[in-house]
């Protein structure tokens, strides 16, 4: 029983990290209807810049992280100018493909800058074992969960209490109506992509700290996608809840199901959970109900 709980909690905490990546997807999808495949590349991009600045240039993290944030805002601006603006009113699949283009361009750019060498990214989150009764937990996971919770609370406050947040919600609700009351969509998109960049920086710190910074890190995207699906493409709480479900499900499956049907099932297990769930509820846990009219 104790072992079960340990696995469960470990899985839940890993799920928080998936949710973090999924969060960036949700923000952009909500505000612009773009399925941003490049989110994972943004995570890697941010992590590589932070790691590179710290290790190669000798900057302290207090300087490297804000600098990376500035760079992410720049990236958001460039993406809006170069990619999104000329593609207004294109079909969603075309925009989706262009984000795959962004995915490769960002990775290529970061590699031109920093090479594909693996780096450490240790911002000083302690990773000690903590005993809670008889249960063994990692302090790294707990602190990560706290960071993510803070981030989510911050995002909620931002979207509920600030003027810009209200603008974002208006755009998410109805592009045309928002435009007709004088909201500039181009500014909103830069803001949204910048926030997604911020989320990517946080995700980069957390994932980079856990796995080290290296190009294979983009594979976290393939972990985050089923989370996104299960939670619904448009729901921030959905991303968190689904992250927890998938993290726990995956950890339990690896331990209890893995020995029976062969190892390595974590590459697809989350997808099968998401797929089975989607058949029952095609818009995900908390996604907006899809209404179709002719």
């Amino acid at each position: 029983m104790m072992f079960f709980l340990e696995v469960l909690i470990g899985g839940l905490l890993a799920g928080v990290m998936y949710a973090l990546v999924a969060l960036g997807f949700v923000l952009i999808f909500k505000a612009s209807g773009i399925f941003n495949f490049a989110q994972a590349a943004m995570v890697l991009f941010a992590a590589m810049f932070m790691g590179g600045m710290h290790n190669d240039w000798g900057l302290s993290y207090w300087l490297a992280i804000p600098l990376t944030l500035v760079i992410m805002v720049g990236v958001a601006w460039v993406i809006e100018r170069v990619v999104l603006r000329p593609m207004v009113n294109q079909e969603p699949i075309i925009l989706f493909m262009s984000t795959i283009g962004i995915f490769f361009a960002l990775i290529g750019f970061a590699e031109i800058f920093w090479g594909s060498r693996s780096r450490t990214l240790d911002v000083g989150i302690p990773s000690d074992p903590i005993f809670l009764g008889d249960m063994l937990l990692q302090s790294y996971d707990l602190i990560t969960a706290a960071i993510v919770a803070t981030l989510v609370v911050g995002l909620v406050l931002f979207s509920q209490k600030t003027r810009m947040g209200r603008v974002l919600r208006a755009v998410a609700d109805d592009h045309q109506a928002a435009q007709s009351v004088g909201i500039k969509l181009s500014t909103v998109w830069v803001v949204v992509w910048s926030i997604a960049g911020l989320v990517a920086v946080v995700a980069g710190i957390v994932w980079g700290g856990a796995l080290g910074v290296q190009p294979v890190m983009v594979d976290v995207a393939f972990k985050a996608l089923p989370v996104l699906l299960l939670g619904g493409l448009t729901s921030i709480p959905g991303a968190i809840v689904a992250g927890l479900i998938i993290g726990a499900g995956e950890a339990l499956a690896e331990v209890y199901l893995g020995p029976i049907i062969g190892g390595g099932i974590d590459s697809w297990f989350a997808y099968i959970i998401a797929m089975a769930f989607m058949v029952w509820r095609p818009e995900g846990l908390f996604g907006e109900k899809i209404i179709e009219r002719i």
Partner: protein, 352 residues
Amino acid sequence: MIYRESGQFKKTYQADQAILPLRQDRIFLILVLLVAFLVVPFTASNYVMNSLLLPFLIYSLAAIGLNILVGYCGQISLGTGGFMAVGAFAAWNLAIRTELPMPVIFVLAGLITSGAGVLFGLPALRIKGFYLAVTTLAAQFFLVWLLQRPWFNNYSASGVISAPDFHMFGWSIETVTDRYYLSLIILVVMALLAKNLVRSATGRKWMAIRDMDVAAEIIGIRPMPTKLKAFAVSSFFIGIAGVLWAFLYLGQLEADAFNIYTSFDVLFMVIIGGLGSILGCFLGAAFVVLVPIFLNIIPSALGLPLSTAMISYIEVFIFGSLIIFFLIVEPHGMARLWSIAKQKLRLWPFPY
């Protein structure tokens, strides 16, 4: 001047329904086929055949398969790599476990892939759009994992197995020219099949579903058989492409070779070539095969002192940028550029 339709009257229903209504187009196609069958094998070097033409032909076939699903039926799929792997492994296992003749094995491998396609297409009855696209990733990851189980590679220790030598109708496939001819023949036959299929009632039903599935349902098109048919046909094509990829191009089988990036590559071909166009599949495949090779050649041709690693990074960057550039310039793909060029050519040299 030359490209005019004046004087070409359609006197029969048959002529009216021809795939290429213009005589000039027919002549052009025949010339292309003649070059492909009679000139290329005798002039191209082994390198060109092996690393340009074979991948081009096989990718074209896979792109046609995916285009049927994405371009004609509107169901986005990211599972192409997984289905190619199913085709390849099905053919290999049939080849070593049974005594069936090779053509039968090819068709059976295609049918097995169809089965897998239908199975993973079932959620498409409820799930739509991007939700479906991500769901099809399940096929990609699950199938590749499944095919890495020891039974499928006959308990080989390394997990990499070589494709068997084989012959068809007494023609043993050995040299690169043989492999080229076999791919070319299969591609031509299947492209013709696809072209006719998308012009048929089935193809029109697919397009109706693509344009608006609820409306299509109301005018009496049953979504379930139509969508599943698209998944089955598309997977059949992709499965055969997988067999060719493993048997003729790589010469060995490894489930990991059909990873998620294969799926993306094929999706690029379909989108850059043109959604809903068979011609576009060829153009897109040529683009995706050629661009990395050009990007590889250019720096050394210019004499830039770059390390191989740097070249590969720049390649990734430029590849991504080119995709964005292409989508901005012509979101409907190269097939649209081609038809615009033909329109212009019809009037040339007059302004209208």
